[in-house]
C-alpha cells in the first residue's frame, strides 16, 4: 500500500525537479546572452592593444592594465564632460520633480472642470514624435540665443513632462481623499496640503521620477547633439561620440570610456533597486 503511493509521488518529484532544472538552464543560458556583452566590454577595457586584436579572443586580460582608462581620461576632457553631465542631470531632475509633482497634484487632487480634458491632452502629447517639434524648437532657441548653452535642454523640464506627470498623477490618485478633506476643514491652504501632506506621501514615486530623469539625462544624446555646439559644454554621452569618430579604431579606450559612462548608472541602480523596479512596474498599464 505504502509502496503504491510512494512510486508515483517519487515520479512526480522527479518530473518537478527536471522541470526546475530545465527552467534554470534556460534562465542561465539567457542570462549569459545578456551578460556576455558586459564581460566583453570590461575585458577589452583592461587589455593592451596587442591583446585586443587576438583571434580567437582571450577573455581574461593577461596582463591586466589600466592603460586604456588612463588614455581614455586624458585624450578627451573627460572630467569636464562628466561635470557637464552632472550639471545637466542635476538641474533637470530638480525641474521635473518640482514641476511634475505640482501639476500632478492639480490633476489628481483638485476637482475642477477641465482637468479631465487636460489629462487626456497630456496623454495625447506622448503620441507626438519628437521629430515634429524638433525644428521649430530649435528655431525658437536659436532666436533666443540659447544654442550652445544648457538652457534649451534644461528650461523645458521646469514646465512639466507628460510621462512623469502621468506617473505621479496615478500615484496621487491612490491617496485617500479624506486626508485632504480633513486638512481643508482644519483650514489648511491647498498649497499647504500639497506640500506637507501629499508630497511626503508620494516620496517613493518622486524618487522613481528623479531616478528615471537622471538616467534619461545621463544617457541623452539627441538634445546635447543639437544644442551643445560648444565643445566646452559637451556632456559625457556626447563626448564619447566625438571620441568614436576621432579614434575610431582605439577599441580599448572606447571600451574604457564606455565602462566609465555605464558604471555610475549601474552603481546607482544597485542602491535603489527596489524603488526602481516598483516604479517601472507602476509605469505599466496597471495605474
Amino acid at each position: 500500500m505504502s509502496l503504491a503511493i510512494a512510486v508515483p509521488r517519487r515520479r512526480q518529484d522527479l518530473r518537478r525537479t527536471a522541470r526546475r532544472l530545465l527552467t534554470h538552464l534556460l534562465l542561465i543560458l539567457l542570462g549569459i546572452v545578456f551578460l556576455v556583452p558586459f564581460i566583453w566590454l570590461l575585458s577589452t577595457s583592461l587589455k593592451t592593444d596587442p591583446q585586443i586584436f587576438l583571434f580567437p579572443p582571450r577573455w581574461i586580460p593577461a596582463p591586466f592594465t589600466l592603460l586604456q582608462y588612463h588614455l581614455a581620461l586624458t585624450t578627451i576632457p573627460f572630467f569636464v564632460y562628466t561635470r557637464n553631465s552632472l550639471i545637466f542631470c542635476g538641474f533637470t531632475v530638480v525641474g521635473v520633480v518640482l514641476s511634475c509633482s505640482t501639476v500632478a497634484y492639480g490633476l489628481a487632487r483638485v476637482r475642477w472642470p477641465g482637468r479631465d480634458v487636460l489629462f487626456l491632452f497630456t496623454l495625447a502629447t506622448m503620441l507626438l514624435p519628437f521629430e515634429v517639434t524638433l525644428v521649430p524648437l530649435f528655431i525658437v532657441f536659436r532666436t533666443l540665443g540659447w544654442v550652445g548653452t544648457f538652457l534649451p535642454i534644461i528650461v523645458p523640464t521646469y514646465f512639466g513632462s507628460a510621462f512623469y506627470i502621468f506617473l505621479l498623477r496615478q500615484f496621487m490618485m491612490t491617496l485617500p481623499m479624506e486626508l485632504s478633506d480633513a486638512a481643508r476643514i482644519d483650514g489648511a491652504s491647498e498649497f499647504r496640503i500639497f506640500w506637507s501632506i501629499a508630497l511626503p506621501l508620494i516620496r517613493p514615486a518622486l524618487a522613481v521620477v528623479a531616478l528615471l530623469q537622471f538616467l534619461g539625462a545621463w544617457g541623452d544624446f539627441l538634445g546635447p547633439l543639437i544644442y551643445l555646439t560648444d565643445q566646452k559644454t559637451y556632456t559625457i554621452s556626447l563626448g564619447l561620440q566625438q571620441y568614436n569618430t576621432q579614434y575610431g579604431t582605439e577599441w580599448g579606450q572606447l571600451m574604457a570610456a564606455s565602462t566609465l559612462l555605464t558604471l555610475p548608472v549601474i552603481v546607482l541602480f544597485f542602491f535603489t533597486q527596489r524603488t526602481f523596479i516598483q516604479g517601472i512596474t507602476l509605469t505599466g498599464i496597471k495605474g
Binding site: T23, H24, L27, G31, F34, L35, V36, P37, F38, W40, L41, F53, F55, P57, V103, G106, L107, V110, W112, G114, R115, L118, F121, T122, T125, L128, P129, E131, V132, T133, L134, V135, P136, L137, F138, I139, R142, F159, G160, I165, F194, L215, W218, G219, F221, L222, L225, Q241, N244, W251, M255, S258, L261, V265, I266, F269, I277, G284, I285, K286
Partner: protein, 317 residues
C-alpha cells in the same frame, strides 16, 4: 419686504452662491497647480506643432525669411529616394523589433514567474542592459559584432559557421541593429509583463488545470488573453518608439546611415535635412509625413483591438 424676500430665499441663494464660489475657487486652484504644464504645452508642444506645419509649407534655411511654397515639400518628399529608403528601413526595423521585443519579453516573464530560486537575481540581470546609455550600448555592440575580432563571429566559428559582416553588411546591418535594440529593451518590457503575469488570478489557472489543460493550453487560454491589454499598450509604445529610433543608428554609423544607407532611418534623414542641409521646411514636411504614418499604424491597431484585446471587467474598448 426685503426681509421677507431674504427669508424666502435665504436657503437657496446663499448655498447656490457658495457652491459657485467654491467652484470658481477650485477652478482657480486647479489652474494654478497645472499652470506650469499649461504654459509648457503651449510653448513646447502646441506652438512648435503649429509652426512645424507652417514651416512644412515653406522653404527656410534659417538665414532668409521663410518663403511659401505650398505643398512643394510634400511633392518633393514623395519622389525623394532617400525618404523612401528611410521609411522602408524604419518599417523594417519596427516589423522585426516590435514583435520580437513583445514575444521575448513575455517568454522571459513567464520563465521568471515559475518561482525559481534566485528570481530577483535573474530579473536584475535581464534589466541591467536597460541602464546602459544608448551611446555606450552602440559602441559596445559595434565592437562585439566586429567581423574580425568580435565575440559574435568567434562563437559562430566554434560551430564552423562563417560569420557575416554584421553592421558592415547591407543584408545584416538591420537585423544587427534590431538585436542591439532588443538587448537594451527586453529588460524593461519584461518587467511590465512580469507584473501582469503575476496578476493573472490563480483560481483561473487552477480551474483550467483541473479541467485537464496542460501548461501550453493554459498559456493560450488563460495567461495570454489576460496579457492582451499589455500587449496592446506595448504595440502602441513600440510604434511610437520605432519612428523615433535615432541614437543607436546615429552612433553606429557616425550619422551616415551606411553601409549603403541601410541604416538610414527616419530620424536620421530628418536630422540631416535640418542640421546639415539647413532645409527647415523640408525637414518639417518629413516630420508630418512620419506623424501621419504613426497615426495610420496606431489607428489600425486601435481598430483591430476590440477583436483581440481582452478586458477582465468584460467591457470592450
Amino acid at each position: 419686504m426685503a426681509e421677507l424676500i431674504a427669508s424666502h430665499d435665504q436657503v437657496a441663494v446663499p448655498r447656490h452662491r457658495a457652491s459657485l464660489r467654491a467652484r470658481s475657487r477650485s477652478v482657480r486652484t486647479g489652474l494654478l497647480f497645472c499652470s506650469p504644464w499649461i504654459v509648457g504645452i503651449l510653448a513646447f508642444i502646441v506652438y512648435p506643432t503649429v509652426m512645424s506645419f507652417y514651416y512644412s509649407l515653406t522653404e527656410y534655411d534659417l538665414l532668409q525669411v521663410p518663403t511659401f511654397v505650398g505643398l512643394g515639400n510634400y511633392q518633393q518628399l514623395a519622389s525623394d529616394p532617400k525618404m523612401l529608403t528611410a521609411i522602408y528601413n524604419t518599417l523594417y526595423y519596427m516589423a522585426l523589433w516590435i514583435p520580437l521585443n513583445i514575444g521575448l519579453s513575455i517568454s522571459v516573464a513567464l520563465l521568471l514567474n515559475l518561482k525559481v530560486r534566485g528570481m530577483a537575481m535573474y530579473r536584475t540581470l535581464f534589466y541591467l542592459p536597460v541602464l546602459v546609455p544608448a551611446v555606450a550600448t552602440s559602441l559596445l555592440w559595434v565592437w562585439f559584432l566586429n567581423p574580425q575580432y568580435g565575440v559574435a563571429n568567434w562563437v559562430l566559428s566554434l560551430v564552423n559557421i562563417p560569420g557575416p559582416g554584421w553592421l558592415a553588411s547591407t543584408v545584416w546591418s538591420k537585423p544587427s541593429v534590431v538585436l542591439i535594440s532588443l538587448w537594451g529593451s527586453i529588460g524593461n518590457t519584461m518587467l511590465i509583463f512580469l507584473a501582469s503575469v503575476q496578476d493573472v488570478p490563480k483560481d483561473l489557472q487552477d480551474a483550467a488545470e483541473v479541467d485537464g489543460a496542460n501548461a501550453w493550453q493554459r498559456f493560450w487560454a488563460v495567461t495570454l488573453p489576460m496579457l492582451t491589454p499589455v500587449i496592446f499598450f506595448e504595440l502602441i509604445i513600440g510604434i511610437i518608439a520605432g519612428i523615433q529610433f535615432f541614437t543607436i543608428p546615429y552612433v553606429i554609423t557616425g550619422g551616415t546611415g551606411n553601409p549603403a544607407d541601410s541604416l538610414t532611418v527616419f530620424g536620421l534623414i530628418l536630422y540631416r535635412a535640418a542640421f546639415f542641409d539647413f532645409k527647415m521646411g523640408y525637414a518639417s514636411a518629413m516630420a508630418w509625413a512620419a506623424t501621419v504614418l504613426i497615426f495610420v499604424l496606431t489607428f489600425v491597431v486601435f481598430r483591430t483591438s476590440n477583436r483581440w484585446v481582452y478586458y477582465q471587467s468584460g467591457e470592450t474598448r
